[in-house]
């Protein structure tokens, strides 16, 4: 039986009137039901929780950024085909098959958003921040990016242009933040630690170097 989203207009309120009052209770009820129906195992759910807590997260994006610092040829491949380049480092997962990496420069600062819902390159950055999914960021990043960045305590000089990327189709975006001064000679593992999650979304620009 195929599903027509038009049916949602009556299923939504019907569910709303009957489901348990707390999200935790409703989610638990759904899990129990789907296990009973043979559509789910709780061990698989447990396994995915661990995957997203331990393996698939922003540390993967940070590794990609650090590799691009050390290896200029890798950086060019990353900018040309993000999906292939992250696969070279063994990364993958949802929504990175059309990954476009956009590079910050002295003249350009990049920011990524999904105004229509919350599309995000999960395979390389993990789960979205809470603010990324909410109305304030989704509505204002395309209208007042500098005002949004000010809420993140980031000031972009007038001489720097901001390029916002609204993820309206299946392409997903990741920002390549600039390499901070004072990091010449650092090895890749050290460079990984400098990269913040927010710098790969675009709500952080200048990476901090400890001791400077």
């Amino acid at each position: 039986m195929s599903y027509d989203p038009k049916d949602a207009t009556h299923i939504h309120p019907h569910l709303h009137s009957l489901v348990p009052s707390e999200p935790a209770l409703r989610v638990k009820a759904l899990e129990s039901l789907l296990v009973e129906k043979g559509l789910l195992t709780s061990e698989a759910v447990d396994a995915w929780v661990e995957v997203y807590q331990d393996e698939i997260g922003p540390k993967n994006g940070a590794r990609v950024v650090a590799r691009a610092r050390i290896d200029p040829d890798y950086k060019q491949r990353l900018l040309a085909d993000g999906a292939a380049a992250i696969a070279e480092l063994g990364f993958g997962g949802p929504n990175v098959e059309q990954l476009k990496v956009v590079e910050n420069t002295d003249d350009v600062h990049n920011m990524v958003v999904c105004t229509l819902c919350s599309c995000y390159p999960f395979g390389i950055l993990g789960i979205q921040p809470a603010w990324y999914k909410l109305e304030g960021y989704r509505s204002r990043s395309v209208r007042d990016p500098r005002g949004v960045l000010a809420e993140f305590a980031v000031t972009i000089p007038d001489s720097v242009r901001i390029d916002v990327w609204d993820s309206t189709a299946d392409l997903r975006y990741m920002v390549l933040p600039q390499r901070p001064a004072g990091t010449e000679g650092m090895d890749e593992d050290t460079l990984v630690e400098l990269v913040t999650r927010n710098s790969m979304i675009g709500t952080n620009r200048d990476l901090k170097v400890p001791g400077r």
Binding site: P13, V19, K37, L39, L40, W131, E135, T168
Partner: protein
């Protein structure tokens, strides 16, 4: 659809509450389980991304603004399970089966399966015979169509009627607006650049830009 979800450029929402690297992956146990269920459960062929997104868009606007994000995923996915006949509303609400099981479905994913598939990357649509040639090339001026479909669309309201420039081409891809409604249509997909100064009056003189990925039927020829 001109619903509450199409919020790019709208004003009046609460200030952002920034978080950084201190933020936990999941804010609560139920969120982690809800997210993970969507990775783990058996999918009906009808469970396509655009259909899921449109189902969430059809939540009442006040609920859309009020309920936690993953709770909305719960609700939209519950609609899908009911909509394809795999569960009734009463079963979803109670968490207890009435004894029926969906017929002809594969065995559910195990923890071993997770280890095997966790890094899988989706296939990108390849060119098909009959695909149309792209109308636009890089540098072309276009205008985002001023349309208001009542169904699903990935053309946000904030660019409709405004001029842009083609800065990327990504081949012919399935049109989300159509996929959400079981129509099998694929069109050339472009990245289109808009100047904020063209979109919002208070950005006059600003050099900042926004880029959207739009399909050919979202666009018309520009000057």
């Amino acid at each position: 659809m001109d619903g509450i979800h199409d919020m790019g450029g709208k004003l009046g929402f609460r200030p952002i509450q920034p978080t950084g690297d201190e933020e936990p992956t999941f804010h609560s146990e139920w969120e982690g389980r809800m997210w993970s269920m969507t990775r783990a459960w058996t999918r009906h062929p009808s469970f396509k991304g655009p259909k899921f997104r449109h189902t969430r868009e059809l939540e009442y606007a006040d609920i859309y603004l009020e309920r936690p994000y993953l709770d909305q995923w719960y609700k939209a996915n519950a609609c899908l399970f009911v909509g394809v006949g795999w569960a009734t509303v009463e079963e979803v609400a109670s968490g207890t089966s009435n004894g029926s099981k969906p017929a002809g479905v594969a065995a559910p994913q195990t923890a071993e399966d997770v280890a095997r598939v966790k890094l899988n990357i989706a296939k990108v649509r390849t060119a098909q015979p009959g695909d149309s040639e792209p109308r636009y090339k890089l540098g072309d001026r276009v205008i985002a169509r001023n349309i208001s479909p009542t169904g699903h669309t990935r053309l946000p309201a904030y660019v409709r009627g405004h001029p842009g420039e083609i800065v990327g081409y990504h081949g012919v891809q399935a049109l989300d607006d159509a996929t959400a409604h079981d129509l099998n249509i694929a069109e050339p997909l472009y990245t289109v650049r808009f100047q904020l100064s063209d979109l919002f009056p208070e950005r006059a003189g600003c050099s900042d830009r926004v880029h959207l990925d739009l399909w050919e039927s979202h666009l018309e020829d520009g000057g």
